[in-house]
């Protein structure tokens, strides 16, 4: 009696009512798995008994490609991992190689990097907010979010000619200096954005349905979060006050004043609040940085051909999704011997199985949304 037309899977147990547990394949083509994620759910009614994430549909072998490109050539590839936060990916890679070379970018480059990365964080969080809201059924916030994101992308476009996969930085500094009016435009955006965040919060934060859908959903305790290696807003939502920008400052973050927002209960609602506050803080960093971009060169002293000494380095930054690390092993040639990318989405996603157990199907999409994954980065 176990294998029926509906369940179709042998070994599926029967529940009290005589109704089978059914297996639901969520994805790889599904509107709210944020890409080609496939979650195999075992359901009792609509409650999740068991689940398994199946990933790799977008695997492109980025790490393998890295071994066959020179250090400079590989830089644009990292933009294709977390394609909604390409600038952050680039920053992590450039700084890792700089660390390997023992070089350092000049201050002006560092400040511009900080500004662009924070703008990228805002844009990534905006996209997260919009899609997360859509997952939970609120259609409208997405369009407001995209409106503001558009402004950021315009700044990117003016700066380096690309909107999404920007390849904005070079190893050792920047390729382009800021354009005329960069400061003014960024400042205008930032001053405006303060009110925009309030606008989004008006739509959702106090909304009873929103609270009912997110509070107590996908709870991840601080201990679990650390055990599962969750980073970024997921870790902070669980109440761990840890941000690489503060713990191990890179770029020019040590110069600026900002807070690390944390949550209390580690549920979807707290992670939502954390990300909302993070947007405000990023905005604050931008406003501070834009006031005072030091003059000077934009490129540090690195040779035309990069030949780092033998050795290895691990460098990580606080990407919008969490800790984005690059572990690069050099054998003294112009090509990296091994590039390992520690993708925050991949490791945050690992906690999914734990978080959705016992929840309903509707919560699965909320929890996938709150993890803020990008499959390009999960699968690399």
């Amino acid at each position: 009696m176990a294998d029926t037309r509906i369940s179709g899977f042998p070994g599926v147990e029967q529940t009290v009512l005589g109704a089978d547990e059914i297996i639901l394949n969520m994805g790889p083509q599904h509107p709210s798995t944020h890409g080609v994620l496939r979650v195999k759910l075992r359901l009792d009614g609509e409650r999740i008994v068991d689940s398994e994430c199946i990933i790799g549909y977008l695997h492109r072998g980025v790490e393998k490609i890295a071994e066959h490109r020179s250090y400079t050539q590989f830089a644009p590839y990292v933009d294709r991992m977390d394609y909604v936060a390409a600038v952050s990916n680039g920053l992590g890679y450039c700084e890792a190689v700089e660390k390997l070379l023992g070089a350092e970018a000049p201050m002006r480059a560092k400040v511009v990097r900080t500004i662009l990365t924070e703008l990228q964080r805002i844009s990534s969080h905006l996209l997260w907010l919009g899609t997360h809201a859509i997952d939970i059924g609120a259609l409208t916030p997405l369009f407001y979010c995209l409106r503001e994101r558009e402004e950021i992308l315009k700044i990117f476009e003016k700066y380096c000619g690309a909107r999404l996969t920007t390849h904005a930085f070079r190893i050792g500094g920047l390729q382009y200096d800021t354009y005329d009016g960069f400061e003014a435009e960024t400042k205008r955006f930032c001053l405006d954005f303060v009110h925009r965040v309030d606008e989004y919060e008006q739509l959702l934060t106090e909304n009873r349905i929103w609270i009912a859908r997110t509070k107590g959903v996908g709870v991840l305790s601080a201990a679990d979060a650390i055990d599962m290696g969750a980073t970024g807003p997921v870790l902070r939502g669980s109440g761990v006050k840890w941000d690489i920008r503060k713990a191990m400052p890179y770029a020019a973050y040590d110069k600026y004043d900002f807070e690390i927002p944390i949550g209390k209960n580690g549920d979807t609602y707290d992670r939502y609040l954390v990300r909302m506050e993070e947007m405000r803080q990023s905005n604050r960093i931008c406003l501070q940085a834009i006031e005072d971009i030091p003059a000077g060169p934009i490129m540090g002293k690195v040779g035309k051909v990069l030949k780092p000494p033998v050795g290895e380095v691990y460098h990580s930054i606080e990407a919008p999704k969490g800790e984005l690390g690059y572990y690069i092993v050099s054998d003294g040639t112009t090509q990296p011997y091994r590039v390992r990318i520690r993708p925050p989405s991949f490791i945050n996603l690992e906690a999914l199985d734990k978080m959705i157990k016992g929840h309903l199907v509707a919560d699965v999409v909320a929890i996938i949304g709150t993890l803020d994954i990008v499959l390009g980065e999960v699968d690399r």
Partner: protein, 174 residues
């Protein structure tokens, strides 16, 4: 075409549909198909009520049987195993007993019709359809709550008891 003819055509149409639906219900192999046939049969019965001018009963028949009970039927059918029915024997070995029973019932019915013939009790005179007052909802309500108030209330209490009983039985013991 007079209204009488029209309503007669309607009656035979609905009656035929009801019988066909009933046959389909017991012969269909797929449970969901059975349910669909049953719905057809019930709807046809509702149609017969309409030809008799019993508009209220018609509406209640649809709301309760078609819109309520059958929805629950299908709901339950979907929850439980379907393949079981498909692999089971359609008509089992009790067919001789069933046939005998059918025969007895049919003969009873036949006798009843035969004896009642001509006495008017079962014969629906033509044109009767229009005689029910168009205000039959009001009449229905008045009859139910004045003349038959006590039986009505007793029936309600009985249903309530059944309802509570069902809840108690399905609720798991803590």
């Amino acid at each position: 075409m007079t209204p009488e003819q029209f309503s007669q055509i309607a009656f035979y149409f609905f009656a035929g549909l009801a019988v066909l639906g009933a046959i389909g219900t017991v012969t269909a192999r797929n449970v969901v198909h059975s349910a669909i046939f049953l719905i057809t049969s019930l709807l046809a019965t509702a149609g017969i009520f309409l030809t008799l001018g019993a508009q209220f009963v018609f509406a209640v028949q649809i709301i309760l049987y078609v819109g309520g009970i059958m929805v629950l039927f299908i709901f339950v059918i979907m929850l439980v195993n379907l393949d079981v029915a498909l692999h089971q024997l359609q008509f089992n070995r009790q067919r001789w007993v069933a046939g005998l029973l059918t025969l007895v019932l049919a003969s009873q019915l036949g006798f009843a019709i035969w004896f009642a013939r001509g006495e008017g009790s079962l014969d629906i005179p033509a044109g009767r359809t229009g005689t029910l007052s168009p205000q039959n909802v009001e009449q229905f309500g008045l009859a139910l709550f004045e003349k038959y108030a006590l039986p009505f209330e007793i029936a309600s209490v009985l249903l309530l008891v059944a309802l509570i009983g069902a809840v108690v039985m399905t609720k798991k013991r803590a």
